[in-house]
């Protein structure tokens, strides 16, 4: 037992040494946990930004001018005035995401209480903008109309009001969400690649055979790879959380980073084991990459990180329960954003441990039988 621990430790140190001398992988780790997180968090926005908008002003009234002037940066680009006939062609060519058509005599009809109709054309292929943008535009126009009317008397009174408040991310800054989800996706990708590449590298160089004829067991070899690669990633994660996510991006992390690191370790256990399983199916590094890419994309896209799990077909939801990334995503959101404690997230942690152990056993079974075959 002690012997076994010593071997695992010794082989793991060797693993770290290999990693240290591999500039490409080191670069990959550093790049993904710093620059990539920063770019994604600041570049990808789900808030309304820079929306291109055009206005067809058939009214040419005081009110229509006020409406045109109310679309402000940074939410909108400066509105462009176009003619009625240009709506279709310009939207076909994706020149504008929104086109507002103010009909003739809009102001006059409004004042005469004839309830005129104003049209907002939304390019609904631009899903990131369309929904929020349309709601936003509606609010802006209503406010303008309301103000315009109230200048001439008649205040408006609602029967019930709702005061809306948001927990965990009060200003709904999408960079918070993006930063953390990018950390999760990086962990998923790197754990898969690092462990798989570590096995394939040894096999391509023939060192794995060498290990297998020495008094070490396949289990020790694998555990060494798991702890060493896991440790490298965890260090990068901790650094990234403090320096980039909290430091540079100013994300407020409400939960315990210690708890998050423990959960990450469980996730890494499962993912590195999966990486080893995949590596036993591939004959070379390129084959491994071809195999790992679909796994990564599926685990990443369908884990609930990019879009909620509830919206997916039932079959997919059930299949994705087998993926450790699904549980890790909900674990990470709960701990980092909502400040959930172990009393709340223990089921996810237990599931990651279970899935990891199943994968570990599979990889152990495949390891010796495939490593030495020609």
């Amino acid at each position: 037992m002690l012997r076994s621990l010593k071997n695992t430790y010794r082989l793991g140190v060797k693993e770290l040494n290999s990693l240290r001398r591999d500039p490409v992988l080191i670069f990959l780790i550093i790049f993904t946990f710093t620059f990539a997180i920063y770019t994604v968090a600041t570049g990808v926005q789900t808030e309304l930004r820079n929306a291109s908008i055009a206005i067809v002003d058939e009214d040419h009234s005081e009110l229509s001018r006020q409406i045109s002037a109310s679309f402000l940066k940074p939410y909108f680009k400066s509105p462009v005035q176009i003619g009625l006939g240009e709506i279709d062609s310009s939207m076909d060519a994706s020149k504008f995401a929104f086109v507002i058509d103010i009909p003739p005599d809009f102001q006059a009809n409004l004042m005469a209480q004839q309830t005129p109709t104003l049209q907002v054309n939304v390019d609904a292929t631009a899903m990131t903008l369309a929904g929020n943008g349309a709601a936003y535009i509606q609010t802006i126009i209503n406010r303008q109309i309301g103000e315009f009317v109230s200048q001439s008397g008649t205040p408006i009174q609602q029967a019930v009001t709702i005061s809306m408040r948001t927990k965990f991310n009060p200003n709904l800054e999408s960079s918070w969400f993006m930063a953390v989800m990018q950390v999760v996706s990086n962990i998923t990708m790197l754990s898969l690649i690092l462990s798989g590449a570590a096995v394939i590298r040894e096999r391509e160089r023939g060192t794995i055979e060498h290990l297998l004829v020495m008094p070490v067991t396949p289990g020790e070899i694998m555990l060494a790879k798991i702890w060493a690669n896991g440790l490298a990633i965890i260090l990068a994660v901790i650094l990234s959380l403090y320096a980039i996510v909290q430091g540079v991006l100013g994300v407020h992390i409400s939960g315990s980073i210690v708890l998050f690191v423990i959960g990450t370790a469980l996730f890494l256990y499962a993912m590195t084991a999966l990486g080893i399983v995949l590596s036993t199916f591939a004959k070379s590094m390129p084959q491994f990459a071809l195999l790992a890419i679909p796994f990564f994309v599926v685990m990443n896209m369908l884990s609930g990180g990019t879009s909620p799990l509830e919206g997916m077909p039932k079959v997919l939801q059930i299949i994705m329960q087998a993926s450790p990334s699904t549980h890790f995503t909900s674990f990470a959101q709960a701990v980092l954003f909502r400040g959930a404690g172990i009393d709340i997230v223990w089921p996810q942690m237990a599931l990651m441990l279970l899935i990891g152990t199943v994968l570990f056993v599979i990889s152990l079974m495949r390891f010796r039988s495939t490593m030495s075959a020609r």
């Binding site: 290999s18 609904a124 969400f177 060498h210 997916m312």
Partner: protein
Amino acid sequence: MADAQNFVAALKSVNHRYGETLALDGVSISVPRGEMVGLIGPDGVGKSTLLGLIAGVRKIQQGDVNVLGGDMATRKHRENVYAQIAYMPQGLGHNLYPTLSVFENVDFFGRLFGQSAKERDWRIKDLLESTGLAPFAKRPAGKLSGGMKQKLSLCCALIHDPDLLILDEPTTGVDPLSRRQFWELIDRIRKRRPEMSVITATAYMEEAERFDHLIAMDDGRVLAVGTSNEIKEKTGAKTLEEGFIALLPEEKRAGHEVVTLPPRVESDGVLAIEAKDLTMRFGDFTAVDHVSVKIQRGEIFGFLGSNGCGKTTTMKMLTGLLAPSEGIAKLFGKEVDANDLKTRRRVGYMSQSFSLYGELTVRQNLALHADLFDLPKAGRKARINEMIERFDLADVQNELPESLPLGVRQRLQLAVAVIHQPEMLILDEPTSGVDPIARDEFWRMLIALSRDDGVTIFISTHFINEAERCDRISLMHAGKILAMDKPDELRKARGATTLEDAFIEYLEEASGIVPEAETAQAEQVPQNAKTKPKASSFFSPSRTWAFARREAMELVRDPIRVIFALLGPIILAIAMANGISFDVEKLNYAVLDQDKSQESHRFLENFSSSRYFQQKPQIAIRSDLDRRLKSGELKFVLIIPPDFGRDLLKGHVPNVGAWFDGAVTFQAETSRGYVQGVLANYLAEYARREGASQAVPPLANIETRFRYNQAFLSVFAISPGVLMLLMYMFSTMLTALGVVREKELGSITNLYASPAKKIEFLVGKQLPYIGFGIISFASLVALMVFFFKVPVTGNFFALAVGAMFFAVAATSLGLVISSFVSTQLAAIFGSAIIVMIPTLNFSGMMYPVSTLEGGGRFVGHAFPALYFQQITSGVFNKGLGFASLYQSYLWIGFFCVLFWILATLLLKKQEA
């Protein structure tokens, strides 16, 4: 040059460097015409570099290289002579395509040289018959034995009747019989075409004896030139090998002495190795067939045979790396058990390839193994020092193995293998590629281990002179042991003068062939069907087709790539269509109703009946609220204040609280919008119910038209982008792999050495992937239309034409990437990054192009993705046709041309 008549090649003060190392150091030689010239010397002395320069596959750095009467530094001359030179690179079948059959391989080369079908037919028939490969015409090249591979390589080289045949170590790793047959074959061909000159590099001194003219090389320099007898006379040596050693500079020879094997004291007792009927099958292929051996302690037992005859497999079974399909192996009287760690401590193993950690220093490697073998802590350091001393590693102990010469690395491997004082050593071809002096040194160490320490040594080799140093040897062929005895006994048993002759006889007997008499060959050649290959015009469609045909055949025979290409896009499309969704439905929420009146009930009904929301059990106490939001169970919570109903009826305007979970920002934002919408509905309903008294009629209607996607479903908006992205990613990535694979596997040399133009090669490689691109287009469209139910509102043909254009552009981008990078791994990750990042962010797939500014806008327009996105989205969503999309076609076409130019510029036609 004046000598051009007499010399096929002349080199003058040629230098060649790889980074710091000087591979050729002022080499000046003349290669006589019409002769068989041998280039001799161990690995890594610059032989291959020299041959590469003569063949025109390597770029000349310094000096003059004159071949076939012209300067090889000028492109024009090279293009003219490529068709007259045949080059067979080093390595068993490195220029062959392993999944292609024997016939297909030769056929490809025939096509490459522009031969007609009729001409190829008789030439291939002639070549295969004269090499004895005719019965195996349909066998894939990868499944041939080493000797057969080399014969096939030769066929490929000879298909175009070259004037100069360049062979780089053609017989390394080939069994003695095949080796002899190979040289007989060359002799016959030379008889038929005496004008052909042959230059051969070899590390086997024995076979160099048969060459007309020898050039001995060491350390990038020419040591001596002349016939084999001249060299022997000059040095006064009996054999060429001894002569070669004598030629080496003083400091290298220092300490070299002839290896002698002291007699072994016979010992009985437990056998070190005992194998009985050891058999290994891989599928229907029997690699090792009932092998039985008994090896005594302290014996040096040699194992001879060609590559792939089962030596390595046998060794792996003896070490427990492989479990035999049949039979038993015993080490020290105990059956080999993969899980028995104790036996492993008694064995040291050295595998064929260098298998130490390149990232650990010499000392660290030793230390790691000392730790893993659990040497007693006290003596550990001393033992490591002892090893460093004994194997002469003191000077290099802190260096990385990769920077050391092969001979030293092999010594290190041996040191590692014996650090735990094993009683037995299993060594798999430890000396292949090592120069003669280092080899002798290595053997002296082995002999010391055997005779002084009583270590049993089980060694495989393909050097005959090493076999002679063993106590006993066994000859293996096609998985069986043909003979086993003391070297001298074997020789005597066959009445042969040399051990090599004895082996050849055994091999001939085993293969059941009669020593090949000059079987009459079809001498009459249908001259009319002969094309003299010439450096042809700008673009040859037939050569392009030759490349395309071959690539397609290789591709369909590689299951991993085919599965990846066909299933990958479908799997990822399903993942993306579901993963990139902005639809917000069935948001879980709960209510804390502090009023519980009829009115609050009515108010809440508006929420529970909405398809956007999904009500969860009520919140009983306030502290529950936090916990349930924290766990992620609820996306929002509604808090109805006490006296809600009463206040409402009194016109006091009650205020409902709503708490949202802001973790997933997009979801939170959307749910806020929906809550507002439900409130508006309630207010309108309330106004109707309570009469006009309190209600305010809307001032104006705002009619929001969601164009192109009335249902406002993500899948409609995202699918065209997913189609574009996946076609793009897979086409680019697979094409990028295509070219780089050849770089890594070495078959790119065929391009270097052939008269084919770069653009022909590139377009030829590209064609099959365009085909794959179109297949994935078709399958993705089918998936989207029939499975996701995304309607095609525009002109389908406009989409299909766009897809063709785009497949060409995407594969061309793949060509650019693959011309640039040097490993397959870099090609995969490089293309993933180059494709994914600009496309996801700046192509209009996720964020409308009209919102982009500055750098992002520029990057978006700098790739073809944006233009194909206009087409897919235009045809799927916007009902467009050719008339509105013609600009996009033009742009994609422009990118095709741009990428072709870039790829052609980046691809090298010569090695550095």
